[in-house]
């Protein structure tokens, strides 16, 4: 089984610890992970802002970078959703504009192989107890694209539930968007900040010491808001919790 890590541009640049956690977690589970250096970004921010034509070179790059791998695993719900939902859409639109060919081939090739991390663990590897140890109270925020586009369901919670020492506390209004939304966070700063403040309030109210998500871009917004409001709740990506063990705790 040839598994490639698609780390995402946000994690590569700002949250390398999440990428390292995925590598250590998968290797612990006996999976050999490769990191194709030609990868960069799925193009989500460009596409969702309306720059579809600017996104196309990144789709081609994605296709080249991950050619030949059985599985493409990414620690980001929204990047996985970008590939799975929007690459076929982009291909269809390009085809309507008379430039279908290669984009369609890329989409057909990468869509069935691309997995968000928790899907890969539960659906492909068939594990929910990954042997992790994280003796803290945690609340889980299901990020929108993982929840509604990928349909992750309770997979992340099942994984967290099996972590030794972890106490999972329900988040009120969990399924409501945190207000990040990519460029929405700056284009509509007032609304985004209002949504973030409400999310932060709900997180703080749980009394948990950490808030966990499957997406560091949302977490950057949640964490940035919590920090600005002076909260001590720590944002942690699920990969880092699942990678944490008694021998090598986070």
């Amino acid at each position: 089984m040839r598994v490639a890590l698609f780390v995402t541009c946000v994690n590569d640049t700002l949250y390398p610890g999440t990428g390292r956690a995925v590598v250590s977690l998968l290797e612990r589970l006996g999976v050999t992970v490769d990191f194709p250096l030609e990868q960069s970004c799925c193009g989500q921010a460009q596409f969702n802002t309306g720059y579809r034509h600017e996104t196309e070179p990144l789709v081609h790059r994605f296709g080249r970078a991950f050619e030949g791998y059985d599985h493409i695993v990414t620690p980001s719900g929204s990047c996985a959703a970008m590939v799975r939902d929007n690459y076929p859409r982009m291909a269809a639109k390009a085809a309507a504009e008379g430039r279908g060919g290669t984009l369609t081939r890329v989409a057909e090739s990468v869509v069935p192989r691309t997995y968000e991390l928790t899907e890969f663990l539960v659906d492909v590897l068939g594990v929910t107890d990954v042997g992790a140890y994280y003796p803290h109270t945690v609340t889980y925020h299901p990020t929108c694209h993982g929840l509604r586009m990928l349909g992750l369901g309770d997979k992340p919670r099942r994984l967290l539930g099996a972590v030794e020492g972890l106490e999972l506390i329900d988040l009120p209004g969990a399924e409501e968007c945190c207000g990040f939304g990519g460029t929405f966070a700056v284009k509509n700063e007032a609304v985004s900040a209002a949504m973030g403040a409400d999310k932060a309030r709900n997180i703080t109210a749980t009394g948990a010491s950490a808030v966990c998500t499957v997406d560091n871009s949302c977490q950057m917004h949640i964490g940035g808001t919590l920090a600005r409001l002076g909260s001590s709740v720590r944002p942690v990506h699920i990969a880092e919790i699942l990678a944490s063990t008694k021998e090598a705790p986070l």
Partner: protein
């Protein structure tokens, strides 16, 4: 706030002000959360909801793909049943037709059933200019009209008002429009409803002309359907001698049987009821029962332009239930007025820029009034993929391209005001397509990380106004991998 959406600022600007309105925010949070849970419970009662939803979408798609056929069929059926059919290409023509129909009756007053189409075309103002007074009879529309306000929700136009504000509006304004509010009016909803009953009763009793929209028009029978709760609809549809219905051309369903889908989808999605208290159906006119004259005004006003867009077309499936507004976190915080249209919320953000085009700053800002969280799509009873259409319209704003304006295929230029963003997107794309350049940038950021300011200037200020910046790590993942795993360098 005066009775027009014209000249309103772009969404971010309006929302910056409205999100600070703590009373409106509290009213909206209370109302939307109340209905949200109820809707979910009403939908859970039906194990075949997913199948009904798919059928609803499919019936609407069938209608839209053959709209010319169904329009002609509907026109023939309505005419055969004693109605008169008029066609209005735009708001101005619709207003002109309705005004002249009212004038022909010699009346100077009309009673109105709540109707999105007549809000969209600004009918009340047009009638006012012709010396005809239109009385809104839906409770929420009455609150809006008495308060000299604008609707902010599709189902509950006065959702931004709480009971105390409504009591004050009734006390202060009812006398100007007819029967004053009773002495000692309280903020009890039942008492307020009673005040509206008394105020409007005299208007119903003397009304000679009623104006309505319709939730559905059945092509094969020529039947119109109005779904309501209060009974004001029944009053307007049955007491006057003349009934004028202004209805968007997309409101057609092909057959009588098709109603079995929508009469299950709509009440549960809208008011979260198994069935709304009153549904009226009528086919032309009936001897001795109800209006003697019936006019149907079929309204285009941008609908055919929307139909011409194969992605955006799905917005015309909308049955105006407002479930998407009630679950939208952006709507809940910004309020309906910020959308600058009779159609607020997620559906408004995709409908308004298609009906009106994206040439104004406000209309071009609407597709961006969403975090793309997808809650709207999840609850939509006719499966309109609102996030998909939002992104599609964002493309139209920043890339321009082919679109249809008043029936003419036109190539539009990218909207102004996105030049800096476009340059940044291009630069980012270039860097992301050149990993070596990206790595250089990452290393530069890492080396300078101690000097990064807490608050950014320029466009970055929008981030740091409310959030801390993430700390740039000492080493990117890419560099770590190469150092640890000795991956070979590409390019």
């Amino acid at each position: 706030m005066s009775g027009t959406y014209l000249g309103m600022p772009a969404f971010p600007k309006a929302a910056t002000l409205s999100t600070r309105n703590t009373r409106m925010r509290a009213n909206l949070t209370h109302a939307t959360h109340t209905i949200r849970d109820k809707r979910a419970a009403a939908v859970r009662e039906l194990p075949d909801w997913a199948q009904l939803r798919a059928a609803g979408a499919a019936v609407k798609d069938r209608t839209l793909r053959h709209l010319d056929h169904y329009l002609e069929q509907l026109e023939a059926a309505v005419t055969a049943a004693g109605g008169t059919v008029h066609w209005a290409a735009d708001a101005r023509e619709a207003n002109r037709i309705v005004t002249s129909l009212v004038r022909a009756t010699g009346e100077t007053e009309v009673v109105k059933v709540k109707s999105m189409a007549t809000q969209e075309i600004g009918l009340n103002a047009a009638l006012e200019a012709a010396g005809i007074r239109a009385y809104e009879t839906d409770l929420a529309e009455l609150i809006v009209q008495l308060g000299d306000d604008l609707p902010s929700h599709i189902l509950v136009p006065a959702i931004h008002r709480n009971r105390d504000e409504i009591r004050d509006i009734f006390r202060e304004r009812m006398a100007d429009w007819g029967r004053p509010a009773p002495e000692g009016l309280t903020e009890e909803p039942a008492v307020l409803a009673e005040a509206a009953r008394l105020h409007l009763r005299e208007k119903f009793l003397r009304a000679k002309v009623g104006i309505s929209g319709a939730n559905f028009m059945v092509a094969d029978t020529g039947t119109l359907v109005v779904v309501e709760s209060e009974g004001n609809g029944r009053m307007c549809l049955t007491l006057p001698e003349t009934l004028i219905s202004v209805v968007g051309i997309e409101k057609i369903v092909p057959t009588w049987q098709d109603l079995e889908v929508f009469l299950q989808l709509l009440p549960r999605s809208s008011t979260a009821e198994r069935m709304n208290p009153y549904t009226s159906t009528w086919t032309g006119t009936t001897d001795g029962d109800g209006p003697r004259t019936f006019h149907l005004v079929l309204l285009d006003n941008g609908r055919t332009d929307t139909l011409a867009d194969t992605v955006g077309r799905q917005a015309l499936r909308c049955i105006r239930c407002s479930a998407c507004l009630n679950v939208c976190p952006v709507y809940e915080r910004a309020g309906g007025h910020a959308y600058g249209s009779a159609y607020p919320g997620p559906i408004g953000a995709i409908l308004t820029p298609q009906l009106r085009g994206v040439t104004s700053e406000l209309d071009a800002s609407l597709p961006y009034a969403s975090s793309l969280c997808g809650a709207c799509y999840e609850v939509c009873p006719v499966a309109i993929d609102i996030p998909e259409v939002l992104v599609h319209l964002r493309e139209r704003v920043v890339q321009g391209g082919e679109t249809t304006i008043r029936g003419v295929r036109t190539r539009i230029r990218p909207a102004k005001g996105h030049a800096a963003e476009r340059a940044a997107m291009r630069a980012a794309r270039w860097a992301l397509d050149h990993p070596a350049a990206m790595r250089t940038g990452q290393r530069l950021a890492a080396r300078t990380r101690r000097f990064h300011p807490k608050r950014l200037p320029g466009p970055g200020r929008a981030w740091t106004a409310s959030r801390e910046m993430p700390t740039v790590p000492a080493e990117s993942f890419r560099d770590w991998w190469q150092r640890e795993r000795g991956g070979k360098v590409t390019r």
